[in-house]
Amino acid sequence: MGSVHARAYARMPGVELAGVCDANAAAAVKLADAVGTAGFEDAEALFAEGRPDVVSICLPTPLHRRFTEQAAKAGVHVVCEKPIANTLEDAEAMIRVCEAHGVRLFIGHVVRFFPSYEDIARNVARGSIGRVGVAHARRVGGHPGKASAWYGDRAASGGPIMDVMIHDIDFMRSVLGEVDRVFASERTAPGVEHALVTLRFRNGAIANMEAMWGYEGPFTTAVDLSGTKGTVRYRSDDPGSITIRRSLGEEEAGPRVSVPQSPLHQSPYYRQLEHFLHCIREDATPIVSAVDGYMALAIALAAMRSIRIEAPVRMTEYLEGKEATRVE
């Protein structure tokens, strides 16, 4: 994600990259060189010498709070990757510290900037399919623990619900409103974690979301909503707008077929970051806020509680209680 943010900023007019920081100095320098800026291995140095106006925090979730606080105290606006944090206590602290230091806090719920999902949100809001009754979302991909060990620590990463499904939780909340209650189930096996979460919204609509780590195919998402006046659906594995198939010689290695692509001039990540920077410049309200990030986390945590107690969890009670507002 750090690379995605850096490369987007590097292309953005009116934006100058002040530095790339990573505890792994070699990795920081490698990315910094690729995007034409300085590399740092220490955040304090990044803030003191790079003197950024905005910092993108793309660290593992358990580190979001500490570095958001550090940035806020240095007077730097924060764009933080999702999930906002892995406890509601941390999420709230992040929101407060940024408020206290007069800096903005944005959370990277980038699915809101995917044009396929934007089309759905916009036209459902206009009433194209009437009142939504049932919605489905699916988000499945490989197991990230293979690339990066911290994902395997459930308390840190929250598993597929907090790491992957949280995108759909935020999206569904943006379309269907506040959630009344959550019921969830989950199964795991070595290399496979699969979660199914049902949200009952205050307006009566029902959404079921599926997320998986350890899917054998390419990363795939799907969403569909049915209402009183029609149905809309999107599947990322429908034939893409471009697929490249190569016939390879005997000695050539590499894939014969590229994953079907949906190319855009500006990626959703670019548009998201551009939007956040615009909101800083213009002091405008973003389409997705830090509070939205907090609420998505709360729903994800409630789902994990539901799995543990094998019962529905009511959101108002969960938010008031806060006795179990971390990964269980």
Binding site: G133, V134, E186, E310, A311
Partner: protein
Amino acid sequence: MSNPVKVGLLGVAHSHARSYFRELSSLEEAEVVGVADDDASAAAAFVSGTGVRGYEDVSALLASDAELVVICSENARHGEHVRAVAAAGKHALCEKPLGISMEDMRSMIAVCKERGVGLMTAFPCRYLPPVIEAKRAVDRGDIGKLLTVKGTNRGKMPGGWFVDPARSGGGAVIDHTVHVMDLMRWISGVNPVGVYAEIGTLFHSDLSVEDTGILHVTFEDGIETVLDTSWSRGKSFPYWGDVTLEIVGSKGSISVDAFAQRNEWFLDEPSRTVWNYWGERMDRWMLKDCLAAVRDGNGMPITGEDGLQATAIALAAYDSARLERKVSVQGVR
């Protein structure tokens, strides 16, 4: 063919009656002796132009030489009709849901057993090649140990007796839970244990039954499933609905879209899009299997117990929604 099985149709209320009649009429292993309904005029209208006899009343069918009776009456009548067919010494193939209460279904099973006649529940989806291939893949161990299944059996709001609880026993949940839950039992080989349901009337606000159900059903061996049973397909949807399964195992996954074998038609007069399914006619293969069991004197391939187990999930779902918690399926009354 020598000695086709003589078959009668009892009740024409269910939409599948027409399909069963058509298939039976063209299967050489069957001879349709007649059609009966509590409403004699409905039976007469059904057979009009076919040359097949419409009985003046149900007892006339029961007194006939039919060996097998296919029951397509409203859900609430299944119990009475199965018991009457069994009392007449005939085998029964009964539409789903088998019945609308546990007591009713238990009695149907008991009476048939006592009378030594077969009772089959109509679950035609077991005869769809993609579903059969999925079961074979699971049985071979292609995807390892079963972990979860997400299924859908969505459809259009059928109206009529389907939305009159006195005749249907409920709405979308009792209508659409059973097919996929039967497939789950068949593919996994284990029984359902618990269910949590979210139910509502969300698409057609004037209905007195539910049109939406999202069920979380846990099976033995810890298999977790979710099923969408809703009547959520609207007028414009190009097909009646779907049966889909996403089966996740410890070593792989299987995606089934049971009615995906279709062509898309974009038509102008009138303006519409239609999906024309060209896959196997599941009703035909189910009926052939039933007829073979009757002819060969074997047990029915899909039993009354199968029908009861699948329906129990729907009944437990209603309890769950009412109690707002997970409930045991095996304990449902």
